[in-house]
Symmetry: C2
DNA sequence: CTCTTTGAGGTTACCGGTAACGTCGTCATA
DNA sequence: TATGACGACGTTACCGGTAACCTCAAAGAG
């Protein structure tokens, strides 16, 4: 009545009278065993309730880890949350596990996170950020594992990139506003800790305006974190400086909704007196009194495709270095 | 010119002419070395840019892992996102890393996640869920590591519990509504995948009403996932059945905001014609035309305290099994 | 002055998988 | 019949730390 709480490969091998290498081969789906052996092994594995030890596997020869590090700006954003859920799900199905961190738009924090991650010898790394420190780049090189940059496509990829162009999103929204006859347009943004993709959208927006010979009437870029509050007060401040606008483009939907709250409170009619547009396609945008004009991001698809691309690279399958995910301008009725 | 890309304990030991065990002792802050040796080791570690191999450490003798598994219902919720960020930060400072998963309120998914986690031999597990499968309980026992249940206190803890009582939150809101003179109260909720803490708040709310001799006029519990949409349509459906209400309690702030959107659109004045209350203290609640009455959750504090409690248990320090985190009813102006 | 304690280290074995390589029998082919 | 290729395993070494145990000198106790 030997009670081994955790049977290992060795135990199964002994029960079956074979070597543990054979068990390992069967379980990994490698070659070098007969069908009869496979059956026996799988039965015994089932019977004993064997739990593989990923730690030992990852610790052994390099290239056998199934750990993937993922770092995003924030965990409090439903957008990134959705990407992460999708990543977790897809990677789990492909036999990989994730270690998740956040860097709050600070490249230094990303490097610190990466350093810790590196000590776990992951099989690959996934980053959602536009700017990396020199230390991060060096570390990634030293680690010698595939790297996927997601979310933003504008930087030239270190290895793989899966995402979309924030610049283009901004540009498209500028065209949309112009097409709707908006002339005096303001922008309300927030810097947070810099390096945000939102700033790229702003650049694209400016380009879009200049393309059609228009210019931005006024901008209000807060130093705070973006959010409902920031949208509310940013709008207030901007209109105090220039109340001759007919549309406002916001850093994102949360800020747009905050702005809408301010406008509504002050009797400014949307879209009659003022057009409003956000970015992100958050659910709340569609239950407002008027559906918000915004850009929807297919976060679930992005996560799935990024996961599959990274695993393809890990397996050595041929794969494009850059994958573009289409975003979609949702017209709404606030422009 | 030997180029070892990754110096190990061995390399540092050789450079210094000591054994790698001494290096290990110094780095772990164990005892058994002189101050002079410590200095030398730390300098050499700095000079070589040594990166510890957590994998090897965790793989070795049990009890040396610094990996902590965390499973929450969703990653798309800012509430849980905030808890996770706080956990990550606090645990990182204490020398631990997290492996994060989500179960979408499905106990079976939690068990599947835990099984995968177990194969990484974590030092501890943190769960945010009210219901666990028998398999989960058995697995936790077999793993023999500390377990912290966070978010909800109502179930009797497996090991540690850090959270608050959803029941009490609901109860308090009932009292608040009664005190404000509300008599005909409805409830709009959403089941999602069952097992939600929201249902506990509902139970507490009912209890609160009965305490003062009142009863709920009508309820509308959708089978969908909670969210803005659900709040909007739930309100519509409920009012179609009973439009003689003077207040509505919602599953959470998102649903309350959805409900507010419906009410506003249909000319129902809040709070004059209808009182509204949510739960969660989301930022958006405070920039609405009228500040939403809700219950605020100190998510950052919860994460920090949960992390510290779990690490205390890991270190064998004395620690209370149950830690209550105070939530706070935010009066707002919608009741 | 001897005996014991203590501090500061060194040695060894081991964690549980996996790559690399070796072995042995079988079967097709020259 | 000799040969060689191949399938199906077994053997060995190793990944990089850490606990447990051992050693040895110096300090303190009696």
């Amino acid at each position: 009545m030997e009670k081994r709480p955790k049977p290992g490969l060795e135990d199964i091998a002994r029960n079956l009278g074979v070597s543990k290498m054979t068990i390992s081969r069967v379980l990994r789906g490698a070659s070098g065993f007969s069908e009869a052996t496979r059956e026996k092994v799988l039965q015994e594995v089932e019977r004993t309730g064997y739990l593989p030890n990923r730690l030992a596997a990852a610790f052994g020869p390099s290239g056998t880890s199934t750990l993937i590090g993922v770092c995003v700006p924030r965990l409090t954003s439903p957008l990134f949350g959705s990407v992460l859920e999708s990543l977790n799900l897809t990677l789990a199905r492909l036999g990989y596990q994730t270690m998740i961190g956040s860097h709050n738009q600070l490249p230094d924090e990303e490097e610190i996170w990466l350093r810790t991650l590196a000590s776990w010898k992951p099989a690959a790394v996934m980053l959602a950020s536009r700017v990396h420190t020199k230390g991060t780049i060096r570390l990634l090189r030293d680690m010698g594992v595939p790297v996927a940059e997601i979310w933003d496509l504008t930087t030239k990829p270190i290895d793989l990139a899966i995402g979309f162009s924030h610049f283009d999103d901004g540009l498209e929204m500028a065209r949309c506003m112009s097409a709707a006859g908006r002339k005096k347009i303001g922008y309300v943004g927030a810097l947070g800790n810099r390096n945000t993709s939102g700033h790229l959208r702003y650049q694209g927006f400016l380009r879009g305006l200049s393309e059609i010979g228009a210019t931005l009437a006024v901008e209000e870029i807060l130093k705070d974190q973006p959010g409902f509050y920031a949208g509310y007060y940013g709008t207030e401040t901007m209109l105090a400086r220039n109340n001759d606008l007919d549309a406002i483009y916001y850093h994102d939907d949360e800020m747009a909704i905050g702005g809408l709250a301010y406008l509504t409170k002050n009797g400014v009619r949307v879209p009659e007196d003022m057009g409003v547009a956000g970015w992100g396609g958050m659910e709340a945008a569609s239950i407002l009194p008027r559906r918000l004009t915004t850009t929807a991001i297919p976060t679930t698809r992005l996560g799935k495709i990024a996961a599959e691309a990274l695993v393809s690279r890990l397996r050595g399958d041929p794969i494009e270095d850059v994958t573009i995910i289409q975003t979609r301008l949702v017209p709404g009725s606030t422009i």
